[in-house]
């Protein structure tokens, strides 16, 4: 179809070029092999640096003939080599040239050529293959279709500096997925390429280094192996550190830093930690026992603070960090600054200590503000080429800066303050949220999310700049990755103390959040229910009713059986927040009491983590605090037995929650307390309480004593 559309164009081109270029193609068909060779050599000289000529020859069908000559074993080695050289030259042209070459099946033909024993010919083929593979239009999969190719390339690595350069360059451009990494790894890429890092040729060293950076990226297996590799008696990491020295070319410093970053991150990240960004957020907001919250936080922070394992030296990271910070400075190329910032963001993402160091290194926070100054007003005036260049990189620069700010501010309050105090920072984020480039939008919302973890910022700059408005806009029809980030940020904006909570509620966010809870993505479900939970915290009766109405009881109970523990936890949290204040408890329980009690029973009976059970018991605590709602527990002997069971549980947290529940049930000054006390005494609760007063846990024994006092009064 494409050919048909292009037909008129082709004819016009043909008529123009026939006279000049036809001649070259015709000579390829000469019966005399010597003349053919001369023709190919002339063609080579004609196409060098001449994109028009290249296009002409491709249009005239030179490529199939050249490939034919190249593949013929009857052709002389010289001719075959020259053919490969011409093809390589044609590949140097435009992307369209590459497409045409790939369409003519140049890749299998050249790969076949690599089996030849002639080194010059092999080098010519490799050079051409290299040029084809580094183009973004070539499907990299073509390298892996024939399983014999990779091992053969590995074996060619020892032949010459050129083969080393081309092959490593091909690898570094064709290693795009974990599968590719595994294939290369399994064929001994590390052992074969590692010695090239000390090659006398800079190009070889550089390409080998790039290979390692793509191999190690998010690949634990490769990264763990790399840590122990020796090159000429020296640890690979030390070789990389040397390559980061300041007198090395910038490209080399940057790539070496990338290698180290990827190695450290990959050997540290385990699959269960992969959504580390989502993990640290505000603690669940619930009403009762405050100390339980603190325990929950402790647990969360603990899982967060398991730094890089010892395999990857912390010192190594501290050495890598300043190199990457330097790459962000104004004196470097825009591309280098983008890469430097992105890598740095990735490096320090999980480590607050690195974030603190980076925030003081070389005025990084202020340095990043420069990333937003492209295209500068100067470049617009001085020359159009510069403007074009700046424009092309402006988005990249902005998103890189946002990413780095997001990483910097993800934990430390001081750093967040520093970031928001940077010139026009909040304005930049706000305008970044509505930029056309999805990459910038995503990075901007990540940055906003990072900053939204600060109570102070939520109260001040977030409110002053009405960030909720563009955020709400962003939530409409956004792709999932943006939606995850944006909804996560929204969770924080909906916190009770956030002044943005009111306007967001008024803007009708409820429907959106409820629809998120029905999403296929667990991350979105969590965020949806989390936001609702925050919304329900200390909310008016009206809001609570509205949440229940909008979400629908059916959906609410469906979420209680969600396979994702996070979703379950937040749903329980929502229930707890809905069941706060006596009047609200009674109201909700009177309308949904049966279902809630059922759900609670189910969860307590099922296999769940301590945290889930604890949350569930906390719901019972709240229910027990109601006036009429109490009866739902008191009349449910099964439930009372469960409470009794948990009072004797081995886990203190559960014991405590259960004791709280009992304490609420037998509280004096409330109607019918006497009957409840009697009933529980009959059931043997008093004995258990007596036992608990002997507990070594001060909180627990105190609570048990308080409960027993109710009997004395």
């Amino acid at each position: 179809m494409a050919c048909l559309l292009e037909a008129p164009l082709r004819i016009s081109v043909l008529s123009e070029v026939t006279a000049t270029s036809r001649h070259y193609v015709d000579r390829l068909f000469d019966p005399d092999p010597q003349k053919v060779l001369q023709g190919v050599i002339d063609m080579k000289n004609a196409v060098i640096g001449n994109n028009k000529q290249k296009a002409n020859l491709i249009v005239l069908g030179a490529v199939p003939r050249l490939l034919y000559l190249l593949q013929q074993s009857s052709s002389s080695m010289e001719l075959r080599t020259e053919c490969a050289v011409v093809l390589g030259s044609l590949a140097m042209g435009t992307e369209n040239n590459i497409k045409s070459l790939v369409d003519c099946h140049i890749i299998p033909a050249l790969l076949q050529g690599l089996l030849s024993p002639d080194l010059v010919f092999i080098e010519a083929c490799l050079r051409c293959l290299r040029t084809v593979f580094i183009s973004p239009v070539t499907p990299v999969q073509l390298l892996y279709t024939d399983p014999t190719v990779i091992p053969h390339l590995m074996s060619l690595l020892s032949n010459s500096l050129r083969t080393q350069e081309y092959i490593t360059q091909i690898f570094s451009h064709c290693c795009k997925t974990p599968e590719h990494q595994t294939i290369l790894f399994n064929h001994g890429a590390i052992q074969n390429i590692a010695p090239l890092l000390i090659s006398p040729s800079y190009k070889v060293r550089m390409q080998a280094l790039k290979c390692f950076s793509v191999l190690a990226y998010e690949n634990t297996q490769v990264s763990m192996t790399l840590v122990n590799v020796l090159v000429d008696g020296e640890l690979l990491t030390q070789v990389f550190v040397k390559m980061m020295q300041r007198d090395q070319p910038i490209e080399m410093q940057l790539t070496a830093a990338k290698c180290l970053t990827y190695m450290c991150r990959a050997s540290a990240i385990r699959t269960d930690d992969s959504c580390i960004v989502l993990k640290v957020r505000f603690f669940p907001h619930v009403l009762v026992p405050r100390f339980i919250i603190s325990l929950v936080i402790l647990y969360q922070w603990h899982s967060f603070f398991c730094f890089f394992p010892l395999k990857c030296d912390f010192l190594l990271l501290v050495q890598t960090l300043p190199c990457l910070v330097r790459m962000c400075s104004k004196e470097h190329l825009l591309e280098e600054r983008v890469e430097g910032a992105e890598t740095l963001a990735y490096l320090m993402e999980p480590d607050v200590e690195l974030q603190r160091i980076a925030s003081t290194t070389d005025h990084l926070v202020a340095m990043l503000a420069d990333y937003f100054k492209y295209p500068s007003s100067v470049s617009a005036i001085t020359d159009i080429k510069r403007l074009d260049h700046d424009l092309k990189h402006a988005h990249e620069l902005r998103q890189a800066a946002f990413k780095l700010y997001a990483s910097l501010g993800s934990n430390d309050e001081e750093i967040r303050k520093k970031i928001t105090e940077t010139e026009n920072m909040m304005d930049r984020i706000v305008s970044g949220l509505s930029e056309s480039s999805i990459k910038v939008r995503l990075a901007a919302v990540r940055c906003l999310h990072s900053l939204s973890r600060s109570v102070q910022q939520l109260r001040t700059s977030f409110h002053d700049h009405a960030v909720w408005k563009p955020l709400m806009k962003l939530l409409q029809n956004a792709p999932d990755e943006v939606l995850v980030m944006a909804s996560s940020t929204l969770c924080n904006l909906l916190l009770e103390f956030s002044p943005s909570k009111e306007p967001i509620l008024e803007s009708g966010v409820m429907e959106l959040l409820c629809s998120l809870t029905q999403s296929d993505s667990p991350a979105l479900r969590v965020n949806g229910i989390w936001a609702l939970m925050n919304m329900a915290f200390q909310a008016d009766q009206k809001v609570k009713v509205e949440i229940v109405r909008c979400l629908g009881t059916e959906q609410l109970f469906r979420l209680l059986s969600d396979p994702d523990t996070n979703v379950l936890m937040k749903t329980l949290g929502l229930l707890r927040n809905l069941l706060s204040q006596r009047a609200h408890i009674d109201q909700v329980m009177s309308s949904h009491g049966k279902q809630i009690m059922q759900a609670v029973t189910l969860i307590l009976e099922a296999e769940h983590s301590i945290e889930v059970k604890e949350q569930t018991l906390c719901i019972l605590v709240n229910i027990a605090d109601g006036n009429t709602a109490k009866d739902l527990i008191m009349t449910n002997d099964d439930m009372l037995q469960k409470i009794k069971y948990y009072m004797g549980h081995s886990n203190v947290k559960l014991q405590l929650a259960a004791t709280f529940c009992v304490s609420n049930l037998i509280w004096n000054e409330e109607d019918g307390s006497q009957e409840r006390q009697d009933k529980l005494r009959e059931m043997g609760f008093v004995d258990i309480l007596h036992k608990l007063t002997q507990s070594s846990e001060p909180n627990l024994s105190d609570r048990a004593k308080t409960a027993l006092q109710q009997y004395l009064a």
């Binding site: 020295q245 300041r246 007198d247 501290v318 300043p322 160091i357 003081t360 290194t361 070389d362 005025h363 340095m367």
Partner: protein, 618 residues
């Protein structure tokens, strides 16, 4: 006491020997271009250059605070033994906070010689500091700028001076904090300041490995400079280099008033000198007067030759007058000297003047005796035989000189006479210059300048300094009188105020009153000026001591103190001449003695320092 400790230690302590050895090795490796015989590197804190609230220990590397620490008035600083040599290119030292003491008001930084030590670094002019309590940087100002994190016990703070681009950055625990100061002046000393009891810091000038990888930073600059040199576009400008170099040399000579050399150079290279010959000579004469301590005459000459110049620069005038007062105390200014000369005492000692010939060559132990001897400043060769001939010829001429000079307080016309007659004498005494007869009209010193070679010194005392003058030579035109004074000192070993003359002292006091009046007038016109006030105060303080030469403010009497004033005056004259030249024929002065060249010259030394290192390393 501490010095004694240092002296006794090397014998018995192998650890110290080892440290000393390591220090030498490291300094050699870091700063290979530095010649320590010429410009020693800082190796410890100076037990002399510190405020009394500072205590030193551990080979003068540990600093502790021993004052009251009540408020900022109790701040105290200490400087290193030597300034940072320019040839370092990049200089680095570290300070470890052993204890933050009560409040941790610690400042780490740099300061120039003479900056008040009763302060934290950064608060005063030519002083720069990074303070631990707030993390702010202080750039010659009492108010800091937000700069880096705070620092406290256990932290290691590094300070790196980049003499190539004149910036400074700090490091904390091996992490660079980014540029803190730009446009730093030369010759800064590593400095620390403390302010509350219990504060203790340890310096590392290279005794131990640095926490920050300074060698990596140096290697970056080395690579940068190498690349800069390698990539420097030459192309069609290949032929211009000679012209550029010639222009550089010529403008240097003209700027410093080496008139004859400049003319000879111009003739040899067939280039043009922009400035008029007489103008160069005038400038030179005024400079000589200042350097000779005859500031009064210098002022008059300036007023006469460049009318309106000093009126336009009231600050300069004030500085000159202040200096004049100091020189009166010194007994070198003509207003008091003409009085002193007639004193019987100096007459008596006069016959002894021939005996001072060895003084020029060998009396190096006698530092700063009067205005004539300045072993610290030299721009070249001092042929001893010549000074001998001068003193003898001068001594014959002396009586007539004094009679003509004594008739008026201003001796500037007469001094010209002297120099001419003197120089003709001296030229005769030098066979080689006798054949160039047209140059005899030049002052003798300029002829000498022709065979000056930068950096070649005869005798052991002189330090090589580019662009400073040998006072002695300038004084030769009338060294009779000064020689007289010197002899006096040599014989009696006691210098007296205004040469001990009553009339001169009275004149001096009167002049002091005039100066005070001038200051008040300036205050009214331009507002209060603390620098002036300080200057005046220091000058007047001299009178409070029985022996002004050996008092806390005695430094002022040192002839080397004249140099900065001299160059300020020279620059002012050049600036005014430049402006007038531009207004007349603008194009002509396009390549005048522009300060850019000197900047380049200065920088090239530092660039060279690094480029050279590379060569050595290779």
């Amino acid at each position: 006491m501490t010095e004694l400790g240092v002296g006794s230690l090397p014998l018995g302590d192998p650890a110290f020997n080892y440290q000393e050895h390591e220090l030498n090795e490291r300094l050699k490796r870091l700063y290979p271009a530095v010649n320590e015989e010429e410009t020693p590197l800082p190796r410890s804190w100076s037990p002399k250059d510190k405020y009394s609230y500072i205590g030193l220990s551990q080979n003068n590397l540990r600093v502790h605070y021993k004052g009251h620490g009540k408020n900022h008035k109790d701040a105290a600083s200490v400087r290193a033994t030597h300034p940072i040599p320019a040839a370092c290119g990049i200089y680095y030292f570290e300070v470890k906070i052993v204890s933050k003491g009560r409040d941790g008001y610690m400042g780490i930084g740099l300061s120039a010689q003479g900056v008040n030590m009763n302060r934290l670094p950064g608060w005063d002019k030519h002083s720069y500091g990074y303070h631990g309590d707030d993390g702010h940087s202080f750039c010659s100002s009492g108010t800091g700028q937000p700069y880096g994190p705070t620092f406290t016990t256990g932290d290691v703070i590094g300070c790196c001076v980049n003499l190539i681009n004149n910036t400074c950055f700090y490091t904390k625990n091996g992490i660079s904090l980014g540029v803190a100061f730009t446009d730093l002046p030369p010759n800064l000393y590593p400095t620390v300041g403390l302010q509350t009891p219990g504060e203790i810091v340890d310096a590392n000038f290279g005794q131990q490995p640095f926490v920050f990888d300074i060698e990596d930073y140096m290697s970056e600059w080395r690579a940068k400079i190498h690349g800069m040199i390698a990539r420097f576009p030459i192309g069609e400008r290949l032929g211009e280099w000679q012209a550029v170099l010639q222009n550089m040399v010529s403008s240097y000579l003209v700027h410093h008033g080496y008139c004859a050399t400049a003319t000879a150079f111009a003739r040899a290279t067939e280039t043009m000198i922009q400035e008029d010959q007489t103008s160069i000579k005038n400038r030179q004469r005024i400079q000589k007067l200042v350097l000779a301590g005859r500031v009064g005459e210098a002022i008059e000459a300036t007023q006469q030759l460049y009318p309106g110049l000093l009126e336009r620069n009231p600050n300069l005038l004030f500085m000159l007058k202040c200096r004049q007062f100091v020189e009166m105390v010194n007994g070198t200014d003509s207003e008091v000297r003409c009085l002193t000369i007639r004193s019987p005492k100096s007459q008596d000692s006069y016959p002894g003047s021939p005996c001072l010939s060895p003084h020029h060559g060998a009396s190096n132990t006698h530092l700063h005796t009067g205005g004539s001897d300045s072993p610290t400043c030299s721009n070249g060769v001092t042929p001893p035989n010549k000074s001998k001939s001068h003193s003898s010829s001068g001594s014959i001429k002396y009586p007539s000189a004094s009679s003509s000079a004594s008739s008026s307080s201003s001796s500037s016309p007469s001094s010209i006479n002297y120099s001419e007659s003197n120089s003709s004498d001296s030229t005769k005494s030098q066979p080689h210059s006798a054949n160039s007869t047209q140059e005899t009209s030049d002052s003798e010193m300029e002829i000498e300048a022709e065979h000056y070679t930068n950096g070649v010194v005869e005798g052991s005392s002189a330090r090589i300094m580019n662009g400073t003058y040998k006072h002695e030579e300038i004084l030769q035109p009338d060294d009779n009188s000064i020689g007289n004074g010197v002899t006096d000192e040599v014989c009696s070993h006691s210098r007296q105020l205004c040469g001990g003359n009553q009339a001169a002292t009275e004149r001096m006091i009167q002049f002091g009153r005039e100066l005070q009046a001038l200051n008040e007038q300036l205050c009214q016109e331009y507002g209060k000026n603390t620098t002036h006030k300080k200057m005046l105060q220091d000058a007047f303080s001299l009178l409070a001591y029985s022996d002004p030469w050996n008092c806390p403010v005695g430094q002022q009497l040192d002839p080397t103190q004249r140099e900065s004033l001299c160059s300020a005056l020279n620059s002012a004259i050049l600036a005014s001449a430049d402006a007038s030249a531009r207004s007349g024929h603008g194009v002509c002065s396009a390549h005048g003695p522009s300060p850019v060249w000197f900047l380049l010259l200065r920088q090239s030394r530092q660039l060279f320092a690094l480029a050279q290192v590379q060569v050595i390393v290779k």
